[in-house]
Symmetry: C2
Subunit: 579 residues, 2 copies
């Protein structure tokens, strides 16, 4: 029976809510709000949208996730990678900042929300598992580089463009002559300050005798300090008249109620992007939610997370926002700051709401270079070169998938990158299972064990070839199995039996079944009998349901030892008795 609690996980935690929970949630909300204000402005700019859209996307979506999501500490809102994907999806369709562009962003949020809810209805949460870790890591790292370089234009105050690394670099090179010196000074100073805050401020404050909690709060407030100081400097010295681009006047007041238009042409153009944004957002969100939940022995539900994120995106589409998801860094901050329940997110939403109601005029003279600096400092932590080396060292196939994803993201775009990575990791997996390990085995004297003749000192029967195959048998390796077996038989003229040992065969598909029939037929024609041994229960059940045993003339032995004892009793008896 479907219970209301299943639909609305908020009822779970609301029941036991108390003063301690509130204290933790309120502290976390203050810290996250301070962190989120500049981030939401900056990520909206990265997505090619007016800055207030970022604020709008940080209010109702947080409340919606709080009601429907299962993670207690996930911080939902605009994030870097999804903002980049939004820009690259809408860029070819509309002029950045135009009305059509904003409308497309709303449509993208609505589509993404509907896709996530539909996936939940179809119980497709497991789909997150089909994106391999190396592909995600390659995608995130390359996106980080792309995002950081995309912000260089704001630091230089030039109108560079481009969605790919070569385009960006070419455009930067072509327009760098127009760089604005005051902008560059502000931008570089902001980056230096933000890195210093991130690395050195907290230990410094601790040494000055501040409590760790206060030191942490002040360190997290670094970007807000940069915003206030730089906006004041621009206002004080009239730097905007000297070519320093600023955020400009933002509307004050509640987020607008918006109803995205249902334009089928637009929707079909955005469909692939919406699917990828949903998938990537879901995977990013679930990764961090699971990590955090595990720390407190909580669990999250994959399908209910789909509902939570879907609700957040639909809420974003209805209140002038753009696609949102659970952010990595922000969720960790929320967790570390003591958030106990999703009510922390709702309090954060309240903080952002108050900002849009009262504080937007403060951002009018905020230099875009400072927002660019905020993004650069945030995304460079996504770039994980050590992870690349580690993955290459462990597995060339995984390393290749990771590198290909990253290279295609940088050179061609985010969507082709992720499609390439997924396709390649599937192909590499097929490749890996298409040439299974096959070992000729013999009896370990004095035991009933059969081991690889190349690795162990074993007894081989001259008339019986024992072959172990270490993989499920399916279409991609069926022919390989045939070829290898024929080769082995061709070099052993005295052979009378072949026993295929199947302890690692977890299934046999229809193609492999035909291959087994072909092998049996061909070996029989050559005067060799073909047998199976150690076939697993479920595999045997299925073989018995087919007409395989109508034609199969060989035997199926429970163990390889029984096979040898039946087919070559003399050799087996000697091996059994050997020391």
């Amino acid at each position: 029976m479907m219970r209301l609690r299943d639909l609305l996980p908020a009822l779970d935690w609301a029941r036991d809510y108390d003063r301690t929970s509130f204290a933790g949630d309120a502290t976390a909300a203050v810290i996250v709000t301070i962190m989120l204000i500049p981030q939401s402005l900056a990520y909206a700019m990265l997505a090619g949208l007016p800055p207030q859209i970022g604020l709008y996307a940080s209010i109702l979506p947080l409340v919606a996730y709080g009601l429907f999501g299962t993670s207690r500490t996930l911080a939902v809102g605009p994030v870097a990678v999804v903002s980049l994907m939004t820009a690259s999806a809408i860029g070819p369709i509309a002029e950045a900042g135009s009305g059509a562009y904003v409308a497309a962003a709303l449509a993208l949020a609505l589509m993404s929300g509907l896709i996530l809810v539909a996936m939940a209805a179809l119980r497709l949460g497991v789909i997150a598992n089909f994106l391999s870790h190396p592909v995600i890591a390659g995608f995130i790292s390359a996106s980080g580089i792309l995002i950081a370089i995309s912000q260089a234009k704001h630091l230089l105050g030039i109108p560079a463009k481009g969605d790919t690394l070569p385009d960006m670099l070419r455009s930067l090179a072509g327009t760098i002559g127009d760089a604005n010196l005051p902008t560059l000074v502000i931008g570089v100073a902001a980056i230096a300050f933000l890195f210093w805050v991130r690395k050195s401020l907290k230990p410094l404050l601790a040494r000055l005798g501040l409590g760790p909690r206060l030191a942490d709060l002040l360190a997290k407030a670094g970007p807000v300090a940069a915003v206030i100081v730089s906006a004041s400097c621009v206002a004080l010295f009239g730097l905007d008249a000297q070519g320093v681009k600023v955020v400009g006047a933002l509307p004050t007041g509640l987020p607008p109620l918006t109803l995205p238009q249902v334009d089928l042409d637009l929707w079909s153009e955005l469909l692939l992007a919406a699917i990828l944004i949903s998938l990537v957002g879901f995977v990013e969100s679930v990764s961090v939610a699971q990590t955090l939940a595990a720390k407190r022995r909580q669990r999250i539900g994959l399908n209910r997370e789909l509902v939570g994120l879907g609700a957040a995106n639909i809420a974003s589409a209805l209140t002038g926002g753009y696609p949102v998801t659970g952010g990595f860094a922000r969720s960790v901050v929320n967790f570390d700051a003591g958030a106990q329940t999703p009510f922390a997110g709702m309090l954060t939403a309240l903080g952002i709401l108050l900002t849009t109601l009262f504080f937007t005029p403060l951002f009018a003279t905020l230099p875009q270079a400072v927002l660019g600096a905020t993004i650069i400092v945030a995304v460079l932590s996504l770039v994980d070169l050590r992870g690349f080396l580690r993955t290459w060292g462990y597995s060339k196939a995984d390393g290749a998938a990771m590198t290909a994803t990253a290279v295609v993201v940088l050179a061609i775009g985010v969507e082709p990158g992720i499609v390439t990575g997924v396709g390649l990791s599937l192909l590499l997996f097929l490749w890996r299972t298409s040439r299974p390990h096959m070992a000729i085995v013999g009896q370990v004297p004095g035991t009933e064990h059969f081991r690889n003749i190349l690795r162990h000192k074993v007894t081989e029967s001259p008339q019986v070839l024992s072959v172990r195959v270490d993989e499920s048998l399916y279409f991609a390796n069926a022919r390989y199995l045939e070829d290898r077996l024929y080769d082995m038989v061709a070099t052993r003229p005295g052979l009378r039996h072949v026993v295929l040992m199947c302890p690692a065969v977890n299934f046999i598909d229809a193609s492999a079944l035909e291959s087994l029939e072909a092998i049996a037929h061909r070996l029989n024609a050559a005067g060799v009998e073909f047998h199976l041994s150690e076939v697993k229960g479920p595999v045997m059940d299925r073989l018995q349901r087919s007409d395989f045993f109508d034609h199969f003339k060989g035997q199926v032995f429970l163990s390889q030892h029984q096979a040898l004892a039946a087919l070559d009793p003399d050799t087996t008896r000697k091996a059994d008795l050997a020391a």
Copy 2:
């Protein structure tokens, strides 16, 4: 060292060629030539090309394959499925029968030849293995139905069109009012005659006292008899004046030398089709070549087959032909008729050459309805409904892939069909391996074996959970493994150790490695130690190359029994001694 023999397998058989070989080859060549004349005209018509193109594609390509291919008995030339794919590739680009259409067919043959040779250079012959048998079977059956129905218009003498089943049926329904009665009579008579020849003529002739070889030759000549009789009737009674469409005047003489134009726009439009034609042609050809080679204990080389078929297609492009491959029925006939070497194919080419030089005027009054009947009778044997039922009965996943392929081929087209089938069979394979079988195991008393506690009477340790996973660990099942393990641990409060038994784990990819680390970390945090057992040699080698064991606090046991003996000696000792 590359030897000339590797490049030119013909040197292999030419050395030992003798009178016996020649007798076999010559007989086979006569029979195949007689079979090939109407087929080549008919398949060219199916491909939307002038009939003589079919003859041209049956001369030099056979010689080229004979020089470079490794199958002794494969009969290369125009085949039904590739002709259908040619029509569906060129149909949207040019008007059937126009100069542009013929030029596109030449380009398609050249591209297909170059793709096959390139695949050989990259040693991609194994790619044939990635098309599963059910997908190929579904594709071939659906193509057979599509081809048969596409010929209905020739039997009715109406101008119906369409590339998909719904289009064809709609168009047939719309134009059936224009059906030509004499054409219909000829067509139905031809079908009835051809089915009778196929089923009943050979036994009849045998009963009349003819030798089996002569009876066989006469039965194979059935289509030629239909051609001669129907063409004579049309000429005698002037049926073409009554609306019976005929082949018309064919050019007489050598095949033209043609140099396909290199038109990059055209080539990029045809690229996907050329790749699929190459793949499907290769797979069809290799399937029959391997079957026939196996009967005589010969072997074919996948990569050298690519060269042989590539050379045949390039030869076709240079002599006014269109894409060719090894035909199923024709190769079986060649083999059964006694062909010993590829010289039989060269003699067949000579027969077709003589036909183009001297006999083409005979086909002027040949009704198209008879060619249609030839095709229908040939392709209906491709439709394998029993195979569908058999596959569904064995495996729902394979049955679904097969049915989806067939349905998409019929409803949307041949290319989407094969792409869908391949994609679906990959997804189903992933799905199958993404939820591996996991069993909690216990010790079989009195032995060192560990078996599933649900299937066997075993001893379980209260403190040690023994879990066996029956699949390689990789990205698609890494999270499933985590979830299942956490669930198992959550319901066993007294637990102190978890041992993951890995005898069926053939590899662990980077994603699964991270999952193992996460599992160890999380179980440790819950006060449970995590261990591995029965890890295979190659998997262990790779784990040791990574930094996995820098963090891993558990142990790796050689066997599950050793693990239990170390972690819970009391329970193990009791189980060891139990009867």
